[in-house]
């Protein structure tokens, strides 16, 4: 089977409008969480969120931005950055065969701002005033499709939807398709833009969100005894992955290799996590990679900062690693970025790739008092170096609906060169 390598990275997140800024912020333990100033948030039980550091509409052509939901705007910004990072051109300067390029870009909810915004317009001004672009803006495949337009991708556009596991699923899907020779190169990732009264109220009604409104930067505290829910984030993260052959033929700089993905479904509860499904997803990913749990030096945990989720994941990791638990550094970058839902998997897989490329794990901040008996080694509060040489790492994403997707990457095939 073909080897799939990672050659381009891009992201627009609550801690940076691009990947270099985001990565530096993560290493420095910077929080992207703040109070929502807008009027609509003032009577909600949760008034904090991880809002994007840079408004995507402000960094794109104004007329183009009008025709895109915010989730598509984020996706395009991140995708174009990843594409350029991979050393690839657009339009007349593209050297990629469009029929061998696919897009796999997920989202949890889709074009919510466009959907609800136009509903508001219809209620206030009537049907005639609904934007004729409402449907192409609200549909969940819009971000992926819009990216495919920009890149000229003709081998297929996929938009997996699996809540918080969407973008890991998008990565796993493209990984399989490349190995099945459906394409040679793929733009993968995820996006989410749902910081809006309705989702904030709805997640709040589920008691899923942190209510630490008086200390926003301390609200996201995965694995800490005072975690009280996640912080909603927005943004997008994308990678260019391609076959090793395709990458070497064009002299691409390589960050690492995707070696396995494991997918399971709990079939048990729509919102509560299940250790069995999580452990199995991680094992499947490792088996596919031809690795054992003892080979894993780093895990970027799903780690949402919920009292229900964190201990279950810690137990799953303990069960997976067994005696090898002390050789693996766990972290949750959600402590800084908040939970980007459909974009979380991709952002965190990128953080995992960067960690083993640069041999340093970003910290889990706000870990003042770890929950008792976690039994895993967490990079608490400061970045943790990783050993030099070959490294394998794993990223988990677990979504509402019982979706579990684990992605395993190594720094095999990595080349030195300008890395973002």
């Amino acid at each position: 089977m073909r080897t799939v390598v990672i050659t381009g990275l891009g992201a627009t997140t609550p801690v940076g409008g691009d990947l270099p800024t985001t990565w530096s912020a993560l290493l420095a333990g910077t929080s992207g969480v703040s109070l929502i100033e807008a009027d609509w948030a003032q009577d909600l039980s949760t008034r904090i969120a991880a809002q994007a550091a840079v408004d995507p509409a402000s960094v794109m052509d104004r007329v183009a931005a009008r025709k895109l939901d915010r989730s598509s705007q984020f996706a395009i910004v991140a995708a174009l950055e990843a594409w350029a990072d991979a050393g690839l051109g657009l339009d007349d300067e593209s050297t990629v065969d469009p029929d061998r390029l696919l897009v796999s870009l997920g989202t949890g909810i889709g074009g919510l701002h466009s959907l609800l915004g136009n509903w508001d317009v219809q209620k206030e001004k009537g049907a005639r005033r609904v934007s004729p672009l409402t449907i192409p803006m609200l549909m969940a495949n819009a971000p992926a499709a819009n990216v495919s337009l920009r890149l000229g991708a003709r081998a297929g556009v996929h938009a997996p939807v699996s809540a918080c596991a969407s973008s890991n699923e998008a990565i796993a899907l493209a990984f399989d398709l490349l190995r099945l020779e459906r394409a040679d190169i793929a733009l993968v990732g995820g996006t989410e833009a749902v910081i809006h009264p309705l989702p904030m109220a709805a997640f709040g009604q589920m008691q899923a969100l942190s209510r630490r409104n008086d200390e926003p930067t301390k609200a996201s505290r995965p694995f800490d005894v005072d975690h009280d829910g996640f912080v909603l984030g927005e943004g997008a993260a994308c990678m260019v992955i391609e076959t090793l052959e395709h990458a070497q033929a064009r002299g691409a700089r390589i960050y690492g290799t995707v070696v396995g993905a494991g997918t399971t479904s709990d079939a048990r509860d729509m919102v509560s996590p299940d250790a069995r499904g999580q452990v199995l997803a991680m094992r499947k990913a490792l088996d596919e990679a031809g690795l054992t749990p003892a080979d894993i030096r780093h895990i970027n945990a799903h780690g949402t900062s919920t009292p229900t989720g964190d201990p279950v994941e810690a137990a799953s990791i303990r069960e997976l690693l067994g005696e090898a638990v002390n050789g693996c550094v766990v972290t949750s970058t959600k402590s800084m970025t908040g939970h980007l839902l459909g974009a979380a998997g991709a952002l965190e897989t990128i953080a995992t790739v960067k960690a083993i490329y640069h041999h340093v794990v970003p910290p889990t901040i706000n870990l003042d008092n770890p929950e008792p008996d976690l039994g895993i080694d967490i990079a608490a509060n400061v970045a943790r170096p990783l050993p030099s040489g070959d490294l394998a790492a794993l990223n988990n994403s677990f979504g509402f609906g019982g979706h579990n997707v684990s992605v395993v990457v190594t720094n095999e095939n990595a080349t030195a060169g300008s890395a973002t």
Binding site: V63, R128, R129, S131, P132
Partner: protein, 81 residues
């Protein structure tokens, strides 16, 4: 009541805002779709913006007959009279 040129200028700003066409290109003899490259969905938005800006009503049946900038300006003038 606005002059023809004033209406044209304000319409040009709307077309620029919605479709990115340069303001100086929005002249009376220009066809929206053929000369200015404005697509049909953008035309819909332009019509609504005109209704708001000029305080007139432009029903769909009339809107589809507004082929040039001049047609639109003349329509607005008549509607404002």
């Amino acid at each position: 009541m606005a002059t023809t040129e004033e209406i044209r200028e304000q319409l040009a700003e709307i077309v620029n805002d919605v479709a990115g066409v340069a303001v100086e290109d929005v002249q009376l003899d220009k066809s929206f779709t053929e000369d200015l490259d404005v697509d049909s969905l953008s035309m819909v938005e332009i019509i609504y913006a005109c209704e708001d800006k000029f305080g007139v009503s432009i029903p769909d049946d009339d809107a589809k007959n507004l082929r040039t900038v001049g047609d639109a300006v003349a329509y607005i003038e008549r509607a404002q009279a």
